[in-house]
Each structure stands twice: as C-alpha cells, then as structure tokens.
C-alpha cells in the first residue's frame, strides 16, 4: 500500500491542497464580470487551475510507476525552522546578541556535522559581527541587549 503514495501522487495531492487553501482564503470576495473584474476573479481562476492541475497530476500518477516518496529529513528542517523562528521571536525584545546566539545554538542541532566545541565560539563571533556590521555600521534600529 505504501507504493500508492509515491512522489508524483503526493505532488498532485499537494497541488490540490494548495488550490483548496487558496479557495478558502478567497472566501466570498467579489468575482465581478470579465469586463469589470472583482478582486476575487483572478485568484479564483488561479486556485481552480491549481486544483485542476493537481487532480490531473494525481490521476495520471496513480496509473504509473513512479519513484517512491522522497525521504524528508526532519532534523535539519525542524532545527533550521526553529532557529529562524527563535531569531524572529527574540529580536524585538531581547536584542541582537541574544537572538543571534539562540539562533546559532539551535541551528547547530540541525546536523551531526556541527561540532559542539565550536558552537559557542561561532555564536560569539556571529553576534559580535552582527552588532558591528548591522547596528554600528548600518545603524539598523535594533537593540543590542534586552530592553
């Protein structure tokens, strides 16, 4: 059964999902008519086109042999996402240094190629560089330390 959800079937279904998501976002926006298009005209057209393409891709793929669903690597995906989100979460209130250090530490969990001994050094270097280049040099209005 695992063979059914191969890479191409999954691609098709993903596209259908994107189209549906698009339709939901449109809600009840006015369609208008062709010579006076409403804000909902083109988005609806695109969303339905996505659903149609996705459905066709799925049906087409079911009847063919395709490569298996690709192996997604969760460790880098989660760690890099978390590191970036941590930066966004911390920068406003906690300032550049803490945001960069947190980002570097979380990002270092992404892969076994990182060496724990190097992480603190890298974090300090990046934080110092960030402050010098972006706050002192380019004068971005970002606090250095928690406010």
């Amino acid at each position: 059964m695992g063979r059914i959800l191969n890479s191409e079937v999954a691609s098709g279904l993903l596209v259908v999902l994107l189209g549906l998501f698009g339709l939901i976002a449109i809600g009840n926006l006015d369609i208008g008519v062709a010579n006076d298009m409403g804000p909902g005209y083109l988005p609806r057209l695109v969303a339905w086109a996505l659903i149609a393409f996705g459905a066709a891709m799925t049906v087409w793929a079911i009847f063919r042999d395709n490569p298996p669903f690709p192996e997604l690597h969760w460790r880098p995906t989660l760690a890099i996402s978390a590191a970036t989100a941590a930066f966004g979460f911390l920068i406003d209130q906690m300032g550049m240094v803490i945001a960069v250090v947190a980002m570097t530490v979380v990002a270092s969990l992404a892969s076994s190629i990182s060496r724990p001994r190097e992480t603190p050094i890298l974090a300090v270097v990046l934080a110092a560089g960030a402050v010098i280049v972006f706050i002192i040099g380019l004068k971005l209005a970002i606090p250095i330390w928690p406010r």
Binding site: L14, A25, A47, L50, T84, M103, A110, L126, A130, F134
Partner: protein
C-alpha cells in the same frame, strides 16, 4: 545619434567614487557567494534589499547588478576548479572547464573564462546602449494588451527553462501568481486573501518569500546531503597559450551574440544563453569529439554567453518595466523599494540611473578581471571553509535580511513557512524559480488584463488584433507547441541535466 553622449552620461555616473566602491562591493560579494556552495544570487540579493534602503537608487542597483554578474563569475571559478557549478548558468562550463583543469590547464581555463566574459560584457554593454532607446520607442506603442501578452510570454518561457517537469513548473507559476495577488487590491480599499492578518495587508513580503524559498530551504537541503568536497585542482600557470587564445576568439564572439539575443527574450537570461552557446559551438566545431574532453571553446562560448545574457536581460526591465527572470524580479523589487516604479519612463525620467547602470556593468566586468585573476588563490581557500561553520552565518543573513526590511517578526515566521514548503516542494521536484517570476508578474498581469478589458468593453479583440500583442501571443503559442514535441522534450532534458 546620442549614443556617445548617453554613454558619456553613464560613465560620469558610474565612475564616481561611491558608485565604483559599491560596484566593487557588489562584484566581490557576488564572486564570494558564487564560489560558496549553497547560496545563490537570488537569495543574496533579496537579503541585501533592506541594506539598499540606505543607498541612493543608482548606487543600490549598481551594487545588486554587480552581485548578479559577480556570482556568475564565481560560479565558473568553482565549475572549473572543483566541478561544482556555483550558479546554474555555469553548469555548461563544468563540462570542458573541469576537464581542462584535470589536464593541468586550470589557469588557462580561468583566464579565458574571465577574458571571454569581459569581452562579452563590453560588447553587450554597447548593444544595450544601442538597443535600449529603440526598445523604449517600441514601449511607447505598448498598451495594456501588449504588456499582458509580453508577460504571458515571459511566464511560459520560464516554464521551458525550469528543470524538471513542465507541469510542475506551471504549477509553481500559478502558486507565485496567487501569492502575488495577496494583499492590496487596486479596486477596493480592503486587502484580500489575508485571513485577516494585518501584516499581510501590504502583500506577501518579497524578501521573506525569496529568502525562504532560496535561502532557508537551500540550507536544509544542503544539510541533508553530504557536502563532500572535491579537492581543488592545483594550478600551475594562469596564462593561456597562443593556440588557446586563437581558438577562443570565434566562440567568444558567437557566444556574445547568442547570449545577447537569448538574454533579451522574456524568460531568458544567463542560463539559457550558456547552454545555447555551448550547444552551437559543439555543432559548429570540426572536431566535436573534443568537447567534454577539455576544449577551450567549451569554456569561452558559455562564459561569454552567460555574461552577455546576464547583461541584456536587464533590457526588458529597464525599458518596458517587465522583469524577465527571477533575478530581474529581485531588481524590480529593489527599484520599487527605492520609489522608482519599473516602467518605460525609467529611461527618460531617470536617464542618469539607466545609463549609469549600463556603464557600471562595464566597470564591474573590468573590476572582475583585475580583481579575480590575482585573487583566485583566495577563492580556492574559501572553498575549503567547512559548511558547518558556513550555514549558521548564511542563516543569520537570511534572518537579518528578512527582519530588517519591515522590522517585522511576522516576516521572519513567513520566511520559515516558505522555507519548509519550499523544501518539501523541491524534494518533490518542483523548482522554485518560476514561482518568484509569477509572484512579481501576477499582479502586473492582473492590472493590465483588467485595464485592457475595461478599455475594450470586455472584448478580447485587442489581444489578437493589435499586431505587437498578436506577435507575442503567437510566440507564446509557438512555445506551447514546442513543449509538446517529443524531440524538444528530449533536447531540453539533456540540456538542462547536462551535469
């Protein structure tokens, strides 16, 4: 003809100390990221958009353009030395460049690549100076119908150039168009498609989208695969011999012509140019069997073509205001940030900017030659910086770039979302480049379509009755027919997967 005075105006802008400095910064940064694996020109230029706020418009565009062609230059350096095309447009250079390096001619290949690029860049600069005003004349005849047809052609052409499945490329364009429509709507005060999120009222942030798709997802992809390095080939001497120079002249000139033409086409640019030039050189050669075995022609032609193509791809943006590929989409973003709407008026109302940018390309190419030949040793060293130290730094640039454009944490979360979705889609064989073009062109197409239909009272007649629009639409149809041909499919697959 005002050609001379225009070029003189351009150089008077381009060789001010500030502009030379930022041109230098641009090409240096560009070469750096071209050499480094796992970060490309689109992501870098997007990250730096917030920084360009603080620069005058001309200076910021000069720097961004420098990153673009600098990256290609760096990309070919790694293509030759370690068989790793830093940018897609140097894939064609790998074939013969690396073969030459293995035969001990790495230095010659690098010099010829640099010189061919420089010659091509110089000629392309002149061509833009001649063609620009002509295009601007043509632009006067462009109404909404023509714009719509031109953008449609660009989107369809970018589908052909995307590697992998055509259907998936079309899907990516549609997703891009949809994302481009989020936010402001020309005809109503209410933002649309935002789920009521106020941060989306101004639309999806371009930098968050580009950095997510091209920066963050790329880091994830690089971390999951083993970035084992090929040791750089040792270099003996930097200079090509006379025979190599003689063999390179023809391919360089032909590459320049092919690159210049393919670069102007919507959807074109450096990538198409380099493959086209390589294929033609191989066809023309009396000994095609030498290609792939270290033929200098196979280095000179694609390098000349990608540089010429990179430069002429600015023409559509600067004269018609239509970005023809993902890089130009970023440039359009930069212009908008600076308060210059990309349109045919740029050439007349911002003449100094237009000609200054064109002249700066020549300056930039010159800087690349004198900068890079002596610095090759340094680039080789940089190649050996391990990825474990590099990726946190790249991630930091992604974060600060996205955050600083609006000082918005929401944009950073948005970039995370696009990064993850982008990662999954790339794994499934969807290429992100067409999405970015769709994102920029989507709202422009909607506006022109609406205008054209209002003008014609809802009739689609203007699209096929106006000659320019009809020509563009016929070209679009032609591309669709081409796509359906089995022989074309095969050629495209071999050309785009030539590594």
């Amino acid at each position: 003809m005002d050609l001379v005075s225009n070029i003189a105006l351009g150089f008077s802008v381009a060789i001010t100390p500030v502009n030379i400095l930022f041109c230098f910064v641009g090409v240096l940064l560009g070469t750096l990221i071209g050499v480094l694996p796992g970060i490309g020109a689109v992501a870098t230029m997007s990250m730096l958009l917030p920084v360009t706020f603080h620069l005058p418009p001309t200076t910021s565009l000069i720097m961004l353009a420098g990153i673009y062609y600098g990256a290609q230059y760096g990309g070919s350096t790694t293509a030759i030395l370690v068989k790793l095309p830093g940018e897609a447009s140097s894939v064609a250079t790998v074939l013969d460049g690396y073969a030459m390096a293995q035969k001990g001619r790495a230095g010659a290949a690098l010099s010829i690549a640099a010189l061919a690029s420089f010659v091509a860049g110089s000629i392309a600069t002149l061509l833009i100076a001649i063609a620009g005003p002509l295009m601007a004349q043509l632009a006067l005849r462009f109404g909404p119908a023509e714009y719509f047809s031109l953008m449609l052609l660009g989107l369809v052409a970018s589908v052909i150039l995307a590697s992998g499945s055509l259907v998936k490329a079309i899907v990516m364009i549609l997703v891009g168009i949809y994302l481009g429509l989020v936010g402001p709507d020309a005809n109503s005060p209410m933002p649309r498609l935002t789920f009521g999120v106020p941060a989306l009222a101004e639309g999806v942030n371009f930098v968050a989208l580009a950095v997510g798709l091209f920066g963050i997802s790329e880091i994830i992809l690089n971390l999951e695969r083993d970035l084992a390095r090929v040791a750089p080939v040792a270099m003996r001497d930097l200079f090509p011999n006379l025979e190599e120079v003689r063999r390179s002249v023809g391919p360089t000139l032909r590459g320049t012509v092919i690159g210049s033409i393919l670069g102007v086409l919507p959807g074109g640019g450096a990538l198409l140019a380099s493959f086209g030039a390589y294929a033609i050189e191989k066809k023309l050669s009396s000994e095609p069997e030498r290609f792939g075995q270290g033929a200098i022609e196979g280095v000179a032609a694609p390098e000349a073509a990608n540089n010429a193509g990179a430069q002429t791809s600015f023409v559509l943006l600067l004269t018609l205001g239509v970005p023809s590929n993902a890089i130009m989409a970023v440039m359009a973003g930069a212009m908008t940030i600076q308060g210059i709407a990309p349109s045919p008026k740029v050439m007349t109302e911002h003449a100094a900017l237009f000609w200054g940018m064109i002249a700066s390309m020549w300056v930039g190419n010159f800087l690349l030659v004198i900068l890079n030949l002596p610095l090759i040793g340094l680039w080789v060293k940089l190649l050996q910086v391990p990825y474990r130290l590099l990726y946190p730094a790249i991630l930091f640039f992604c974060c600060i770039g996205v955050y600083s454009i609006n000082s918005s944490a929401f944009d950073v979360y948005l970039a995370v979302g696009f990064g993850v979705i982008g990662y999954v889609m790339i794994k499934l064989g969807f290429e992100p480049t067409p999405l970015l073009l769709g994102f920029i062109l989507g709202p422009m197409m909607e506006e022109n379509l609406k205008r054209a239909l209002i003008l014609s009272g809802g009739s689609i007649e203007p699209f096929y009755q106006r000659p320019i629009s009809l020509t563009l639409l016929l070209m679009t149809v032609g591309l669709f027919v081409l796509m359906a041909l089995p022989s074309f499919k095969r050629t495209r697959e071999t050309a785009l997967n030539a590594d």
